[in-house]
Symmetry: C2
Subunit: 578 residues, 2 copies
């Protein structure tokens, strides 16, 4: 078994996650989170909230997962969100046509369906299953489609990203933030992509969880006031240029922005926060990098785009976060499609003074002279510039006819106006996180298998605060005199908001292993010394060491250990480990 | 404007919730939660978790919202989850046929489509819009349907309830709980019902959030070990019998179970926890009751079912929670459809001893005598009871022929066997919560409008801990010497995990009103005494009173106020209110 199989087998067996609908034969691309997986998922989502809602002051909203057609006509998903398919004429199996020519063309995404078809034909590619002839290439839209209400007149689509919820609520969000830029809105929720034949477990799901932030900024200022907080951070950057060299660079964000490798501070700032978030949930820094999209893979509207990628043993480098400068593409497109005003009035720091020429024709004289045409003549005069108002007579063309007017029938003056600001279409910076991929990465990067006393020990080395269970309470033996204080301790942990489990079945060594396997960082054992001397032992998952501490302080000590406020060996009197 | 309009107008204007897709004309039955609404929703969901995940020890899981057909064939939703429709032949408007005869029949749910059609016909009912002739009644399935993958061979359905996720994961959940009853599993997530023409804002949504617990219990024991914790609770019960009298009874749960009004302790226990949860989030107890389903509205498999209902000014009594004993209906049905074993081996407290007769034919004699028939003869002998083994000769019928065997060719003895337990199909107790309806109820029950100094004041009197924002930090004037300490205080609140907002725009009175309107329980004002004497004022939303407290303890004091640990007037030195 490779690491992927070990991790997914453990996840399935211990209630972390497993393929959905097992009772009914399953369906590729759907997964269940079990009791421990749902706990881990919630912790990762809450950590994300701590960074992006509390830390950045963004507003979390919750929009429906079903959307009406207008949204996706504007977003481009209705016409552009599809894969090229081909079907075997014999066995009717369906394939991603571009995947069939991967060994021939490096970036098949860029090809038209005709070109893919030609390459398939010219290279004698047939059905990989039965060798049959393949059909013409056709487009398959990746949105799940349904119908809202009875009849078929109101199609609905399951959202392919949460982002559109923020874009179409832009007017309400702008008002909530009192009409001022910058502001950010986020959603954590389900998105859907009707993949053709998803493989790779939770890495490619048809129903998945995204956490997306849309940061609306003034397009003329892409600096970030808090950039100095992160500018010293050294990251592994794989820029377009580095990719050509095939070498990952390490440099500070300060340097990356200065040297024009990352387009601007705004993007670099969220690259930094993304790195800090991924570190906080337990992604291994040495198996993480930030890769810039190449020119041919970047969306046509994007100014710059960086992916956080992680290295997984079986799958190679996988994208788990995308951070893009989407410019004004989305708002502009929704403005066109919805006819709504999606601009912001941005006041100048000081009103700008502008000189304007005001022309005043003498209507008392012009009225009687030109009668019905007088108004048109006046308008023509008003549109003249200073140059046109020179000389003794003024000539204007009205309804194809040149009209001459005496200079003294037209007065003008230059007035000064204060322009308070201007309407701008905000640009959008979008950090977009794939929560399921992050969960798998945390499992994969936390997993290790090692030999201990001639036996194999599997461990999930979660960061203690991220572990689904923080502590296991284990009476040394399943006897009432030990079970009773153990159960009281369990309740004491839970009252403090520490996720604690209770386990009496099997030898103490077996119970330690069982907890190692699900990453419980600390086990508290109740033994006869607990009764005699009011002490308990705490056992550390990673070192397998043990310390003995007073029973009345164990909740507080474990709480400090989980938060990393105290070193394990300083937490109590070291004991012989078992 | 009635209360419903006032509340929804406020919710829309202040970023709590609003109809979705406004930019594209909207779609009935879909709502967005804005920044404040999403905060409130999260608090209500987290309170639910505190009660049902932490408090009851249930396991939270997360299953996909799309399901495969097999699930809903077993659950009954594929065939039974539909509404009877009729279409106007003229204007093509579609109606719930049963709704058109509501004024004629009290419970139209119980009628067949033929009967509804007959009543429509006999009562000369035509299209309410245009007076046109109505079509035959047809069934419309309320599940949103889609297709998984390309082609149409794999239909998928958006789940109409989260419950099925727990049922189809029963084997994995049972294993997680180490093969022992009782245990509970919960989900909080989206469910979908393709209503014909939803009205009533968030009360009837096509996409909504449920929080459901499925508690798997031994069917032979419906007592609850923690029932004594809640048996004294007095609730407003509207039983089947009380509904006939038209009077809501008040009684303890102890009485309700003893008198057979609530079927058993298990159900009564979750009725109690439901009541406590609804009180904790801010539902008004005097506008709440528990109503038993009448015989003709209860699902055919349910043993008993109670709804928590709330009184809303415009809509009357509305169901917000259902608590049902679903018996073994769901697991039995999934066993039949999936062929999986969904039973639990329940060991007896002590093995039961059973006496069994063991018959031993003398095969050495019978073999040669009966040759090929010998085995069948032996089997026939083994199935005899003690009575049949009496007498000198024994008669058995083998392959239609009576065979006589001498008594001494057959020995028998009575052995004692220990039976350790038996396989049972668990019963399911289901408390099912409609989160959106609860949110609306909390808004509606919290809302009040009152005259203050000749001006109208709108207030959402949230329980302080449930308010989206706990505290507003307000510098008396927007000047740097006040803004600076105010911003520092804002950060101090946020560091303590207290949701704080900052507001400088408008007069202090206007800012108090603005905060009253979104239910912020406390406003902290920074004034010149803050600079001179290091004190700030705290202003109470409900009494509009003010106290002055030392600046360095204000975070701690507000935290205690939010938790209800201190009375407002004891929190500091009372001041003249503004």
């Amino acid at each position: 078994m490779d690491r992927y199989e070990q991790v997914t087998e453990l996840a399935r067996r211990r209630g972390i996650m497993w393929p959905a609908f097992e009772l009914y034969g399953g369906a590729a691309g759907f997964y269940d989170y079990g009791p421990l997986g749902a706990l881990l998922k919630r912790k990762i989502e809450d950590t994300w909230r701590r960074f992006f809602v509390i830390g950045e002051g963004f507003a979390e909203i919750e929009a429906p997962t079903i959307g009406v057609e207008g949204i996706f006509a504007a977003s481009g998903h209705l016409s552009g969100f599809s894969d090229p398919l081909t079907e075997c004429q014999e066995c009717k199996e369906v394939y991603r046509a571009d995947h069939l020519i991967k060994h021939i063309v490096e970036v098949p995404d860029a090809l038209s369906n005709e070109e893919i078809g030609r390459i398939i034909h010219e290279n004698d590619i047939f059905c990989p299953e039965c060798g049959g002839e393949l059909s013409e290439i056709y487009e398959f839209n990746l949105m799940f489609k349904t119908t809202i209400g009875p009849g078929s007149t109101h199609p609905g689509y399951l959202r392919p990203e949460t982002a559109q919820g923020m874009f179409i609520n832009f007017p309400r969000l702008l008002r909530y933030f009192r009409d001022a830029l910058p502001f950010g809105a986020v959603q954590i929720g389900k998105s859907y992509r009707n993949e053709i034949s998803p493989r790779q477990g939770v890495i490619r799901l048809r129903e998945f969880t995204q956490a997306e932030a849309e940061v609306f900024i003034d397009p003329r200022d892409k600096t970030h006031p808090r950039f100095p907080e992160v500018s010293d951070l050294t990251l592994r950057l794989y820029s377009q240029e580095a990719q050509e060299r095939g070498v990952i660079d390490e440099m500070t964000l300060e340097d990356a922005v200065k040297r024009g490798i990352i387009a601007h501070q705004m993007l670099a700032y969220y690259v930094a926060r993304t790195y800090q978030f991924l570190m906080a949930v337990g992604v291994a820094p040495e198996r993480m990098r930030f890769r810039q999209h190449k020119a041919d893979e970047m969306a046509h509207y994007a100014a710059d785009c960086w992916d956080a990628e992680v290295l997984l043993e079986r799958l190679g480098w996988i994208e788990i976060v995308g951070i893009a400068d989407r410019t004004d593409y989305d708002l502009k497109s929704h403005m066109t499609h919805s006819q709504a005003k999606l601009t912001v009035f941005v006041p100048y720091a000081e009103p700008k003074l502008r000189q304007r020429l005001v022309v005043k024709p003498d209507m008392k004289a012009l009225g009687p002279r030109f009668k019905g045409k007088a108004k048109a003549v006046a308008e023509a005069l008003k549109s003249l510039d200073e140059e046109g108002l020179k000389g003794d007579v003024i000539c204007v063309v009205v309804e194809g006819e040149t009209v001459t007017i005496e200079r003294d029938l037209v007065s003008f003056e230059v007035v000064e106006e204060a322009i308070r600001g201007e309407e701008v279409i905000p640009h959008v910076i979008e950090p977009s996180f794939g929560i399921d991929r992050i969960i798998y990465t945390v499992l994969d990067h936390s997993y290790s298998q090692e030999e201990v006393d001639g036996e194999s020990r599997a461990v999930l080395r979660f960061i203690p605060a991220m572990a689904p269970l923080q502590v296991a309470v284990l009476p040394l033996m399943d006897r009432p005199e030990l079970a009773q204080p153990a159960e009281a301790l369990l309740q004491a942990f839970r009252r403090e908001g520490i996720m604690a489990e209770y386990d009496t079945s099997g030898s103490i060594g077996r119970r330690y292993r069982r907890n190692d396997e699900v990453g419980t960082p600390f086990c508290v054992t109740i033994d006869y010394e607990t009764i005699e001397e009011a002490t308990v032992t705490i056992r550390d998952r990673d070192s397998m060491g043990q310390v003995r501490v007073p029973k009345e302080s164990v909740v507080e000590i474990v709480s400090a250990l989980v938060k990393g406020e105290v070193e394990f060996l300083d937490a109590g009197r070291p004991e012989e480990s078992t």
